[in-house]
């Protein structure tokens, strides 16, 4: 276990060095991603500014929601998205087999050997937006609230990494799993808006089977002192618990898929 923990930073180091072999492509990717987020946020800002509020949330509050969503996603996805998106290729080409003959957890190897430094841009954008949004809202800060924010952020990252891991793990059994990302990103888009604007069915799904409401809406609503549909007073602690619970579910699912791994032939 200790030996594995010592290996993980070196895996990140190896990956960063590999990425640096293609600096131009990496920087272009960052620029493209920055434009993509800027255009989406501009569209949301225009809608909110035009109608002044969306579901009772003004632009500064929506900006805080977006910033939290982006930050939680970036932290979780840096350990999971790009890595587990190619899981079906790893399985199809038999490269997953090469991980199983090493004395290391294949999950840890995949997550850390693909640690995506490309998310630095997301983090910078999210922190900047969050700083501006918090300066525009009247949050009464206490040490407890600051710790709650950090805990909820960690929980948000865990939800992201856990769900993306589960989608990737599905490839161990079904070989193909990439299409499931469409479902995830469908709800991920919805999680950029206040939950109360959606029908009750979607609200229920987003606090249970696809718990992306806990990625940003629930913790930010708690921070801003807003009512959370379906959850009420338990929203605060549930936002902290959602991440660890999703991780436990993902761990069980990963083990199930590993037990049922058949390879893809050859």
């Amino acid at each position: 276990m200790v030996a594995t923990l010592r290996v993980l930073p070196f895996l990140v180091h190896m990956h960063v060095r590999s990425m640096m072999e293609y600096r131009g492509g990496m920087i272009l990717g960052w620029v493209a991603m920055a434009f993509s987020y800027a255009s989406v946020y501009t569209a949301i800002a225009l809608i909110v500014l035009r109608f002044e509020q969306i579901g009772g949330w003004n632009w500064a509050e929506v900006a805080l929601l977006l910033a939290f969503h982006l930050l939680g996603y970036s932290l979780g996805a840096s350990f999971s998205f790009v890595q587990f998106r190619v899981m079906e290729d790893l399985v199809q080409r038999g490269n997953f087999d090469t991980l199983l003959v090493k004395p290391i957890s294949p999950w840890a190897y995949i997550a850390f050997s693909g640690f995506n430094i490309g998310y630095v841009g997301h983090v910078v954008l999210a922190v900047g937006l969050m700083g501006w949004a918090l300066s525009q809202t009247a949050v009464e800060w206490t040490l407890g609230l600051a710790l709650y924010l950090l805990g909820a952020l960690a929980s948000s990252a865990m939800i992201t990494a856990a769900i993306l891991t589960m989608v990737g793990a599905t490839a161990l059994v079904w070989v193909r799993s990439r299409h499931l990302y469409w479902i995830y990103f469908g709800f991920w888009e919805l999680a950029r808006y206040p939950l109360n604007i959606f029908p009750a069915v979607i609200q229920a799904v987003m606090v249970t089977v696809m718990p992306l409401a806990f990625m940003s809406y629930v913790p930010v609503a708690v921070l801003l002192g807003k009512q959370v549909p379906l959850l009420g007073a338990s929203a605060g602690p549930l936002a902290l618990l959602a991440g660890p619970v999703t991780v436990l579910v993902a761990m069980a699912y990963w083990r199930f898929c590993m037990r049922n791994y058949q390879g893809a032939g050859g």
Partner: protein, 332 residues
């Protein structure tokens, strides 16, 4: 000799959704809950002792790679028992991994964009190899495989032969007791194949590493492995010394005699004529004791012999011949 790998009645079946032909069949397949069972390995038993070099041979789809995957802990057998170094490989995958080395001929374990040395360094950390032992092993392996010249070059710039040498060296850095190689010479040119074979043979002889090798190439077996396990269609066909198989099948060497002009019908007691193209005649030498000299002596002078070619049977032919003579050869 103490057994370090023991397979008893090992079977591996894959369950696959039933596939139907045509577009309508594809749509039917989406709705169907019928499955077919593919038997990749069927009731295979063998024991391998420490220090042996064993060739695991068979045509495509024979179940070679599946067996290697079960021995290395990648796949779980459906039935039977399998022990590697006294452990159940899939149940104790991580512990097992520390004592085995695995090389996949068609899958690289090296980091494509980084120098070979970096992959080795990562391997050192994963296997927790003490610094001194790592340096000694690296030095020794580099000398044996002539890798010094490209140790600091990115893997993507290496030839296939250089890469395969690096893959094998990496698999040996942690002093494994068993080295599994899945088609290590596939795609290599003659020179690279020769280097790999010589090295593996030396590793087995001098370092006492047990080698289990799957291949299509009979020459790999001849140069590295005194013992052969032959499989086809998931079943064990032969387990024994290569000498025994050759004494039974090696007789079927192909001899081609090319003459300046058609010498007319030729009948020999040392070789059986199988086809006659006039100036070019094809024989089978069916007795292993019969040498080319014996045949040429019997042929004698005066036929205007221009050229002679003697071909060893390739693996496909050996297996085909084996099938024909199977009842005689099945081990007792």
């Amino acid at each position: 000799m103490q057994s370090i790998i023991k397979a008893e009645g090992v079977t591996k079946r894959f369950r696959q959704p039933k596939r139907y032909s045509g577009l309508a069949g594809s749509i039917k397949g989406l709705l169907s809950r019928e499955f077919t069972e593919v038997r990749a390995v069927e009731d295979i038993s063998f024991a391998i002792g420490a220090g042996e070099a064993v060739g695991y041979l068979g045509p495509n789809g024979a179940g070679k790679s599946t067996m290697i995957k079960m021995m290395t802990g990648i796949l779980v057998p459906t039935n039977g028992s399998l022990a590697v170094l006294g452990r159940t490989p899939h149940a104790e995958r991580m512990t097992n991994a520390r004592e085995i080395g695995v090389v996949f001929g068609q899958r690289s374990q090296l980091w494509w964009d980084l120098p070979v040395r970096d992959s080795f360094d990562l391997h050192r950390r994963i296997y927790d190899i003490p610094e001194r032992r790592y340096r000694d092993n690296l030095e020794h392996l580099c000398a044996m495989l002539g890798m010094d010249a490209y140790l600091d070059r990115p893997v993507r710039q290496l030839s296939l032969g250089q890469r395969m040498r690096a893959e094998i060296a990496m698999a040996l850095l942690h002093d494994p007791k068993i080295l599994f190689l899945d088609e290590p010479t596939i795609g290599l040119d003659v020179v690279a194949k020769d280097a790999v074979r010589k090295f593996l043979s030396e590793v087995n002889r001098e370092r006492g590493v047990t080698i289990i090798l799957t291949t299509h190439d009979l020459q790999d077996i001849e140069e590295i492995c005194p013992r052969l396990i032959m499989v086809d269609d998931g079943k064990l066909l032969f387990d024994g010394e290569l000498k025994r198989l050759r004494s039974a099948l090696g007789a079927r060497r192909r001899l081609t005699l090319d003459f300046a002009t058609d010498p007319g019908p030729i009948t020999l007691s040392t070789a059986r004529l199988v086809s006659d193209d006039g100036a070019s005649k094809h024989f089978l030498i069916e007795n292993e004791e019969t040498s080319l000299v014996d045949v040429l002596t019997e042929l004698g002078n005066g036929h205007g012999l221009k050229d002679v070619a003697l071909d060893e049977p390739d693996i496909e032919e050996v297996i085909r011949t084996f099938y024909q003579q199977r009842p005689v050869l099945v081990p007792q």
